[in-house]
């Protein structure tokens, strides 16, 4: 009986792979892999140059410990469980070990491969630190630490109280960081002893809080989150129906909707404003603007290409922000209310364009300023002005393109 549960998980994993294959093809056709490879090659070349001339006093162990801890503590689990399993699999909870074993094995393998890949990249830098243990000798220790972290993460998933789970995760992160630091800087035997003591402490603490026998709800939520993450990624390249995602309140931006005039013509304007602000469309736009502003500011301050590199970076991010804001047009396309509200359809399209343009403007201003100000302070006024003007010019251009696209989609 247990074997069919293992087969069920395998079947679900296979079905998932089949379902995403067309989206992987769309992603491959988009040119994204080429850009990613180019970026990776550029980063690798920069890293090689850095390895040849590592500044004295560079915190090699600290960087390594931070990197490895991030990878070791992260313990994703693809269970492929769905809420319907509360009806169909819950009665077989006592047999679920077999199902979970396959999920854990797959999670451990992918996590270990990633950890070892990063360790391989880090090893040349580690070699220059004068550490007492060789990079190869630490590989088994890292693999054991990975397994211990996966086991710890599973116990945390079982915890009934969110606070206890968070505290245990924090403790696990701190202990892993300390253990990795010890492995990177101390003699192997002593470091292993410390790591074993840390693992024992963590295991003992994990036993204290109340735990579920099998954390169904947490696994359902985790699986749904993972699916949404994949969806979000693939949706950048293709039209993908979305699973419902939890809205974020974001009061610092949602207040704007309260100032929209109470009028029939503004119905969709209010709906799309709140949709953009509270869904991941807005979340991603905020992250994109923050990363773009930082990249623009750093590049602008570096003075590369006589200050024009900063402008270039800000334009690229402003362009991406425009595309991201424009995805609001996909929201509510299939809502039944669109056909039931006594409102003209073109009002919906106009509202989507207005909201996208406003959000794009709100992102373009800080992007242009972040890249332009450091250049202006350096006395490079032309690239400074160009950064801001270029970002702002992209707003009406993107809005025009979006309007055309929506008209075309409506005609289709």
């Amino acid at each position: 009986m247990e074997a069919d549960l293992e087969a069920l998980r395998r079947k679900r994993a296979e079905a998932w792979r089949k379902a995403v294959t067309p989206y992987v093809r769309d992603m491959a056709r988009s040119g994204f892999p080429s850009v990613a490879v180019l970026v990776a090659l550029a980063a690798l070349s920069g890293y090689t140059a850095f390895l040849e001339n590592v500044p004295p006093g560079f915190p090699i162990a600290a960087v390594g410990a931070a990197l490895m801890t991030l990878l070791l503590v992260r313990s994703p689990l693809r269970t492929h469980l769905r809420p319907a399993d509360a009806v169909f699999l819950m009665p077989r909870e006592h047999e679920m070990e077999r199902y979970m074993k396959a999920a854990r094995r797959s999670g451990y393998l992918s996590g270990s491969v990633l950890t070892l890949a990063v360790w391989l990249l880090y090893a040349p830098l580690y070699g220059q630190s004068g550490a007492p243990t060789g990079a190869a000798a630490l590989v088994p220790a890292l693999l054991v630490l990975k397994a211990a972290n996966d086991a710890g993460a599973w116990q945390e998933r079982r915890m009934a109280r969110e606070t206890a789970r968070r505290l245990c995760r924090l403790l696990r992160t701190a202990l892993t960081l300390a253990a990795v630091c010890a492995l990177l800087t101390k003699p192997l035997i002593a470091a292993l002893g410390f790591a074993a003591a840390a693992a024992a402490l963590q295991a003992a603490v994990c036993r204290l809080p109340a735990r579920h026998r099998f954390p169904w709800q947490r696994l359902f939520d985790e699986e749904a989150r993972t699916r949404r993450r994949y969806e979000r990624f693939f949706r950048s390249f293709t039209d993908l129906p979305s699973e419902a995602e939890a809205p974020a309140r974001r009061p610092y931006a949602a207040w704007i909707a309260g100032y929209i005039r109470h009028s029939r013509v503004n119905t969709y304007l209010m709906l799309y404003t709140l949709t953009l602000v509270r869904t991941d469309i807005g979340g991603m736009l905020i992250r994109l603007t923050a990363v773009g502003a930082l990249a623009g500011a750093v590049t602008g301050a570096s003075g590369a290409l006589a200050g024009w590199a900063g402008a270039l970076v800000s334009w690229l991010f402003a362009l991406a922000a425009g595309v991201q804001a424009g995805t609001v047009r996909h929201a509510h396309r299939h809502a039944v209310w669109r056909h039931l509200y006594p409102l003209p359809e073109d009002g919906r399209r106009r509202a989507a364009v207005r909201v996208a343009a406003a959000a794009h403007f709100a992102g373009a201003v800080p992007l242009g300023l972040a890249a332009g100000l450091p250049a202006a302070l350096d006395g490079r006024y032309a690239p400074a002005l160009a950064a801001l003007a270029g970002c702002l010019a992209l707003v009406p251009a993107t809005a025009f393109r979006l309007r055309r696209k929506m008209e075309w989609e409506a005609a289709e």
Partner: protein, 251 residues
């Protein structure tokens, strides 16, 4: 009195080769509550979808407020509010924002909206949930939001599909009281439900659908006469019409 809903010889469904509805003809007048009853798959939801204008009739016409959807889409849509069987809400909007959105869509001025929204939030005991996201509400609460939205619009016609699913007894009572109030003020209500005892207590007329055909229609007294069962309850009449050979509930 001019009927608010006028359905003539309506045949429709998903495929013209296999229509679900066969020549339905009925009316709903202002100031009456009409119960749409039938077994699962009888065609109740398909009838409602045709009334909403979500499906094209293969034959026949549907008029609401004196117009077809093609003649005047805006007037047609403005004439009714719909409460679906499964709550259809925007996850990222709060309860209050849903009410505001409906008020804006149905062109209800701000002061009327505020007054009606407060009354509804109070009546349906949702005042403390006004800032909750729809995504975080229980099924019954979501259904309450749908009902509150329909009542806020105060249209001439309510189309209500299985309104009692998930509702607590107090909310059911609030809904039925409000529907009676709306009826007294001249609105028409077309309500589909399987809770026959409730329909019997509140409806003026019934449309009994079976296999996409109107098997019987009229007041309770008319149905009793048709069935030859004086004093019978709606439930007994229902079984008599739907499965006369079983006669499970006696005559």
């Amino acid at each position: 009195m001019e009927p608010l809903v006028e359905v003539k010889e309506l045949s429709g469904g998903y495929s013209p080769r296999r229509p679900v509805l066969h020549g339905l003809t009925f009316t709903v007048a202002p100031g009456e509550i009409v119960g749409l009853i039938g077994l699962n798959g009888a065609g109740k939801s398909t009838t409602i979808r045709h009334l909403l204008g979500l499906m094209e009739p293969f034959e026949g016409t549907v008029r609401i407020g004196g117009v077809t959807l093609e003649e005047d889409a805006e007037r047609y849509r403005r004439s009714f509010a719909y409460v679906p069987e499964t709550p259809l809400l925007f996850d990222e909007l709060t309860v209050q924002e849903h009410l505001r959105l409906t008020a804006m869509a149905y062109d209800i001025d701000e002061s009327t909206y505020v007054e009606r929204a407060e009354r509804l939030l109070d009546e349906f005991r949702m005042a403390d949930k006004r800032s909750a996201f729809a995504a975080h509400l229980s099924k019954g609460m979501k259904q309450k939001v749908m009902i509150m939205n329909a009542l806020l619009a105060a249209p001439p016609l309510y189309i209500i599909d299985e309104p009692f699913l998930g509702l607590d007894p107090l909310a059911m009572r609030s809904l039925l009281e409000r529907l009676n109030e709306e009826k007294r003020s001249g609105s028409a209500i077309l309500m589909s439900s399987h809770i026959l005892s409730t329909l019997e207590a509140y409806c003026d007329r019934y449309l009994l659908l079976h296999d996409g055909r109107l098997l019987a229609s009229g007041t309770l007294e008319t149905l009793r006469e048709m069935a030859g069962m004086p004093g019978a309850s709606l439930e007994r009449l229902f079984f008599r019409f739907i499965a006369p050979e079983r006669n499970a509930y006696g005559s």
